[in-house]
Symmetry: C2
Subunit: 593 residues, 2 copies
């Protein structure tokens, strides 16, 4: 057997080499981080300039995308920060070896050429990716190593605070007034959009023989159905758009991320080889979808309620640092716990955020309230900006995107048809019972506000092992860029054009609360019993909401917050021994919060 | 030539495999994160309980270490979350290949056993570490993969906010009153401690023939000289210890991290093969040390001042979200920029923090002040807790620590001798001019407060390629655990025992400001001209501080903040055109801030 190790031409020391390599990698890491952070600074400054001079045709996310594109272009065409790497082909030294799967680690033995008596050194290599042998050039891999970062960072670090913040800063009153319509959009709408996109694309790609499986296109349909709340939120807030429309659009885009991710996972884990539709399997998938969604919802809510109980029953509010830390940690746990038990963290963290705002917020010290609000606001702003910038960069730099213009063209058509196909009929249906009706111009605006953003990109970027998935990833990126720039940029104009009430056209007491934190807080701790300004209690409308409202006011709020009436007032006498335990001194004293 | 690819025994799809592998890794990642976050929750809750019941013998960091040890023990002995990984030996397919260094990536070709006509798949492997062939067992590597995370995360993500917060929340008045003594401790003290530890250990290990190079021991001396501010800070704050002692101990431990890191890097990059001391090289190293330290200091301060100018000259304070984001981003840039230009980020971020507190803080909106304070407080608390927990876990789990009890024993002796050797003579020297003198019992307390923490661990953990470095890493961990538990736990007792004034024994106006943020803020925006309570202006003492004070009051403050007098008042007439540009409307109006 031949000497099975790599020979090195120059004398060297392992210690020295490790030091040098660690330093080179560190410099590269910091350089990449510095680039992104510097871009974020430029973004913040330009965002301020635009706000200051009331320039409204490009918004933060659009701006961020453009900067990202510019940077990606520079990296690609000026070879900035190219990491000089070497790759060699290897084979197992044990030629009879047979494994079930590719190994996770390789060990490579190295010796200096001249000194065969020198101590040999082993190097440990970790599997990073697999690809079909002829599909990729070496150069591309070289560049990719500099800027690609693991999708794990998206899902575990960047997305949770964004989604949590959506739940935590939800304007409760307007949201709950439109809860029925929002849920219809979220569940029916997203599913229809996913199916229509998938089927349309399947027909189109079959005609042109582009070789996509139906299941792949359905996955694309699911992930591209996640609309993005960021840009629309900023435009609508700034123009102070009529609050019902605001609630519909924002509610839909905040919640359908969760539906899209569960849908994508469900379809993705569906048997990979099927092109015939098996009704049983379909039913199973639907049930699985419902199970995952509602279990995640429940889990997130339970974690939120647990935090509320904990802050109520302990005096941790005396130590605002500990209280704030606990709040942040528990909110993050809701996400991680759901992921570990194979549910969907995004759904859990969203509903955890809603519960934290509804219950825990009332128990916290004045200081922690302000801190947590601002903390998540800043973190989610920075995460969003980072993701949008990264999307822009990835257009030029990522090695896992493959452009296919016909497919992109078909996809653009399909997603807008799919969106129109569910918005108009659904609005017509909802208008049968809903008061006030959703006017025609509102419906147009809802269709127009179907921007795609971070979640769609994250889902597409997660798995790009095959060529088709790489096409899907590139298409998603293009759609995000185009909708954010085009629809985002024209939102102002569209609002004017469609004659949608905004700003001073809306009677004052009916208008959207301003976004300064004082106003938000006031709204949040306001008792829910306040009748809405239109004079009717929205909860009177339907049976289920009314039931929930009573349950919330008589059981959940007394149990989880310091609000009065306490459990001692609302529960039957035989439960009093237990009820007493959950009644705080402040509730005993009878003072309202 | 033989068929040079790996054979797989079962049919499989690349797409499917990538999906499965990504999922498995994701579950592992979230599980590890969940474990750490859950432990942090338990830590916060126990910390609250201890505070609530005034139990003082174990402090947060000690507690966190103990939890970390417990978790590490569980992971090790119950094999929790063991990642089933496979490793195979490989050799280059090109047998004549010769390289200068081990390759960064390996490509492994894979085919199914039966179907030689199937499309072949390549897998890409990345270099993670090197080790001498016979030094490590396979099992240890398996376990290590689950919990070890890259030192990059320590240095780029976890440490900067901790150090920034130390600078940002520094009690300026007490700090500057003792600046001379603190700097003496930091520069002379740390250097002496490093040399004494290194020489003592060199003598001891030579006697017992343990085979350490002098340079390795000097590196150890440097990294172990970084004392930890966390535990002492919490004990001293809680007991409201006499403020001069507080400033001395806290100032030393906050600043000597920076010196230790520069010292370690300087010695580490010193020629690797020398055991004879070359005077020229030594001088070069000393000059390099000074260059790196002061350039970093300057760079951090410049970034801080730039932020101040920016917040002063723009109206970004109207948008508190953007303002806060900008503040956070700039603070982080000071760190990254220093690292990229090969200076020391920790020094830069520390002095950036001090500048931000001294200048920028005054320009910000009320809301941003509170937010940034709380933000860094929370982030640094969580980062610290995480690091201490991780140190505990690493004792049982890390594959890069090698225990050597005699060395540990010698090291324990050496570090305390080294600390005593510089504290007592230095205090005697300082007492020649210093008023009030540093009393004998204060000197004992300073020696006793030499706890080791996060920075020492991070430096030791960074490079563990050789066996000696692994011994040093294990020894550092042991020293951190012992000093935090023993010295940290007995600090209260020691303060009583030595008869150091604390709590109500100190006249009220002379006592430490309470740590609620309102108090802190008031202190921070207080004009520096206030004479200290002892009736003498501390700046009268020496020539250099007085010069700096004048420069600060007449140029820096008017330039960088809205404080009065403005540049128009303090600068000579010929500079007025420029001075006017840097004078804000608020300064024009003549109102004090």
């Amino acid at each position: 057997m031949k000497a099975s190790y790599l020979k090195l031409t120059k004398p060297w020391l392992l210690d020295h080499y490790a030091h040098k390599r660690a330093e080179a990698l560190h410099r590269l890491d910091t350089l990449i981080l510095l680039t992104f952070i510097s871009v974020l600074i430029v973004i913040v400054l330009t965002a301020w300039l635009f706000k200051h001079y009331r320039f409204r045709f490009v918004h933060e996310s659009g701006l961020t995308l453009i900067y990202g594109l510019l940077i990606g272009f520079c990296i690609k065409y000026f070879d900035i920060g190219l990491w000089e790497s070497t790759t060699i082909d290897v084979a197992p030294t044990n030629v009879t070896l047979q494994l079930r799967e590719p190994p996770d680690y390789l060990r490579l033995e190295v010796k200096e050429k001249e000194q065969s008596q020198a101590q040999s050194v082993s190097f440990h290599y970790e599997l990073i990716e697999g690809f079909y042998a002829d599909k990729r050039k070496k150069d591309e891999q070289k560049i990719e190593q500099k800027t690609a970062f693991s999708p794990e960072i998206f899902f575990n670090i960047l997305l949770p605070p964004i989604i949590f913040n959506a739940g935590y800063s939800l304007k409760k009153r307007n949201f709950f007034r439109n809860i029925g319509s929002i849920l219809a959009f979220v569940f029916v709408g997203t599913t229809v959009s996913c199916l229509v996109t998938g089927i349309l694309l399947f027909v189109l790609t079959k005609i042109f023989a582009m070789g996509f499986a139906f299941q792949e296109l359905l996955v694309f349909g699911a992930l591209i159905s996640a609309t993005d709340p960021v840009t629309v939120l900023s435009v609508f807030t700034e123009m102070r758009v009529e609050p019902d429309l605001f609630a519909l659009v924002f509610g839909e885009s905040a919640l359908n991320d969760a539906v899209a991710i569960v849908l994508t996972n469900t379809i993705d884990s569906f048997s990979m080889s099927t092109e015939t539709v098996d009704l049983n399997a379909l039913l199973g998938a639907a049930l699985n979808f419902l199970y995952v969604f509602f279990s995640s919802l429940l889990l997130g809510s339970i974690v939120g309620c647990l935090t509320a109980l904990l802050t109520k029953l302990t005096h941790i509010a005396d130590h605002s640092l500990l209280e704030t830390s606990l709040f942040i940690l528990f909110s993050y746990v809701s996400f991680l716990l759901a992921e570990v038990v194979q549910l969907t963290g995004i759904v859990a963290v969203l509903f955890c955020g809603i519960c934290q705002a509804h219950y825990t917020f009332n128990n916290m010290s004045e200081e922690s309230r302000a801190t947590t609000k601002q903390f998540f606001h800043v973190i989610s702003f920075l995460s969003e900006s980072f993701i949008f910038c990264y999307i822009g960069v990835s257009v030029f730099v990522a090695g896992n995107q493959k452009w296919n213009l016909p497919f992109l063209f078909f996809a653009m058509i399909a997603i807008w048809i799919a969106r129109a196909v569910f918005v108009y009929p659904l609005c017509a249906f909802l208008n049968l019972k809903r008061r006030p009706r959703i006017a025609k111009n509102y419906q147009h605006m809802i269709v127009f506000s179907g921007l795609r953003g971070a979640m769609a990109f994250a889902l597409a970027d997660r798995n790009t092992a095959t060529e088709n998935k790489q096409i899907i990833c590139a298409t998603t990126v293009a759609i995000v860029v185009m909708t954010v720039l085009f629809n985002g940029g024209l939102s102002n104009w569209m609002i004017e054009k469609l004659g949608i009430k905004h700003g001073d056209q809306i009677p004052n007491e009916y208008s959207l609360p301003r976004t300064d934190s004082a106003g938000e807080e006031r709204e949040m701790i306001e008792p829910v019993t306040t009748p809405t300004s239109s004079g009717q209690n929205p909860w009177d409308k339907a049976f289920l909401p009314r039931k929930w409202y009573n349950f919330d006011a008589n059981f959940m709020k007394p149990l989880l917050t310091h609000a009065n009436p306490s459990l001692m007032d609302t529960m039957p006498p035989f439960t009093w021994p237990i009820a007493k335990f959950f009644t705080s001194d402040r509730q005993m004293a009878g003072g309202s919060l």
